[in-house]
Amino acid sequence: MVENFLEGLAYLPVQRALFACILCGLSCSLLSVFIVLMRLPLIGVSMSHAALAGAVVGMLVGFNPVVCGFVLCLIVAGALGPVSDRSRMAPENMLGIFFSLLMGIAFLGMGILTRTKAGALSLMWGNLLSLSRADLVILSIITAVLLVFIISFFKEIRAVLFHRKLAASSGVPERAVYYTLLLLTGAVVSSNLSTVGGLLIFALLIQPGATALQLTYDLKVFFLIAAGAGIGACVAGLLISYLFDLPSGASVVLVATLIFAVAYAFSPKRLSGKRFQRNPHYEQDTRRNLPGEKTVF
């Protein structure tokens, strides 16, 4: 069966799908660290609905729906941070408002549209086997920008994830870091609409980070585990969908969920918590490291 897949790799659409899977898994999983630790689970679904609303508006006014979706996604991502900061509303509440507003715009537009809505709705499903060269180039550039940003500003990101106000008070440009992460989330979601689609990307923006949360206290390892889980889920999902002729997006999401379930079941952090409950002096024992704990700062 695997030989079939390897033979399939001779074909350009399958090569592109595999490459896109790796990039999609990498970009989404790196962002999932930020989304899980900042507790912004709604951000993925809000961004994808921004894309849907943009696409519908594009179709209504006669512009390219994909480009309009991409642009609105970036606008929403760019506006979210400043709007929630200025209104002094929690970002998750602001996301809920953005989400419902964008859904309202999308559905209103679809109600007005008299012709087929397939162009807009295709953004919600994606199709790995019909990717163009331009799709891959955009995805590669955005993934590279994200990777360079995380590597270059790792310590600033750590400070912001830990506590925004304290980060600002110690001279870390927390707003710039936070807003850039939000903007990159919009860029990653919009560039992946043609791969896994706007609905299923939600899972990839949560589950790799949630998987890493079960396994380590080290933020660098956290990013690596998330990236491994994300890429693994995407590639394994693609393989399964090819071998068993299943929808690729759904396969990817189900594999990601399975990886999370295994991490949760065998989570050393969770198990050490149980050990702590049994032995209240566990914290006092300073000679042992906790699982996933490193000694280098």
Partner: protein, 258 residues
């Protein structure tokens, strides 16, 4: 009298037609330890937020002789340390106690550079002074409230602040830990050369080094002077609009209901 490092001239904060600060005037010199005292809702935390740059305001604020607004340079922010009342953290959050302390040095290290070995040694020295060096490799979320508050203090000190802002730093701790953290604050003040603004509404637990008290009520400074003049029954009764009296024991002054 040293040069003031904090100067507020007619600073006001208004939100939704509510006046949180009403024309505050205040000068704090280098090496001065000032207690900002007042009832709940008096405007103490708003005042601290103005100085730390987290609150928009009208009026004039000068830090280190330069006029500042809410949006200020990174270099100025680095010179002002901040310790919140407390902070909650998910027990599984991926940060160790030592890493949390080191985040205080990130701003000073600048972009693309990590804090050096000397900063790490200083962080460890601070943790030893606070008697929590053995917890350096523990996840921050596994520490108790008192241990987390010591980490928060160490994080602010490693920043090498010239102004330290303490927002009710012991209010969520038990009595034994309160005394320990208070003594620690006094020791740090003696050791580091900095001005300290210490917010509290508990006068039975004041650091020994606090010699000046500023009473704030309804967004205004209603008293600014020596702590011994401040801690009197009539003065406190007026501030809290409740009958209070003071008594001395073992050379310390305490406040009780009148």
């Amino acid at each position: 009298m040293h040069t003031p490092v904090i100067e507020l001239d007619g600073v006001s904060v208004r939100k939704s037609n509510r006046v949180l600060l009403d024309g505050i005037n205040l000068r704090v010199s280098r090496n001065e330890f000032v207690g900002i005292i007042g009832p709940n809702g008096a405007g103490k935390t708003t005042l601290l937020n103005v100085v730390s740059g987290f609150e928009k305001f009208d009026g004039l604020l000068r830090l280190f002789g330069h006029a500042e607004s809410c949006n200020r340079a990174r270099e100025t922010r680095m010179r002002v340390g901040y310790v919140p009342q407390s902070f909650e953290i998910d027990p599984s959050f991926p940060i160790l106690a030592m890493e949390a302390v080191m985040t205080g040095a990130y701003g000073r290290a600048g972009f693309f550079r990590s804090p050096g070995e000397s900063e790490r040694e200083r962080a460890m020295e601070l943790l030893e002074m606070m008697r929590i060096a053995h917890l350096a490799r523990r996840p921050l979320g596994h520490l108790s409230g008192g241990e987390r508050q010591k980490i928060s203090l160490a994080r602010a000190i490693i920043q090498r602040p010239e102004i330290l802002l303490l927002d009710e730093p012991i209010s969520n701790l038990d009595i034994a830990v309160q005394m320990e953290v208070l003594n620690l604050i006094s020791d740090l003040y003696e050791r580091e050369s900095m001005a300290v603004l210490y917010i509290t509404h508990d006068f039975n637990l004041l650091p020994k080094c606090m010699r000046r008290a500023v009473f704030v009520n309804h967004g205004r400074v209603v008293f600014d002077g020596d702590i011994d003049l401040a801690l009197t029954g009539p003065m406190l009764s007026g501030l809290f609009e409740y009958s209070l009296e003071t008594f001395e024991r073992n050379g310390r002054r305490f406040v009780s209901f009148g």
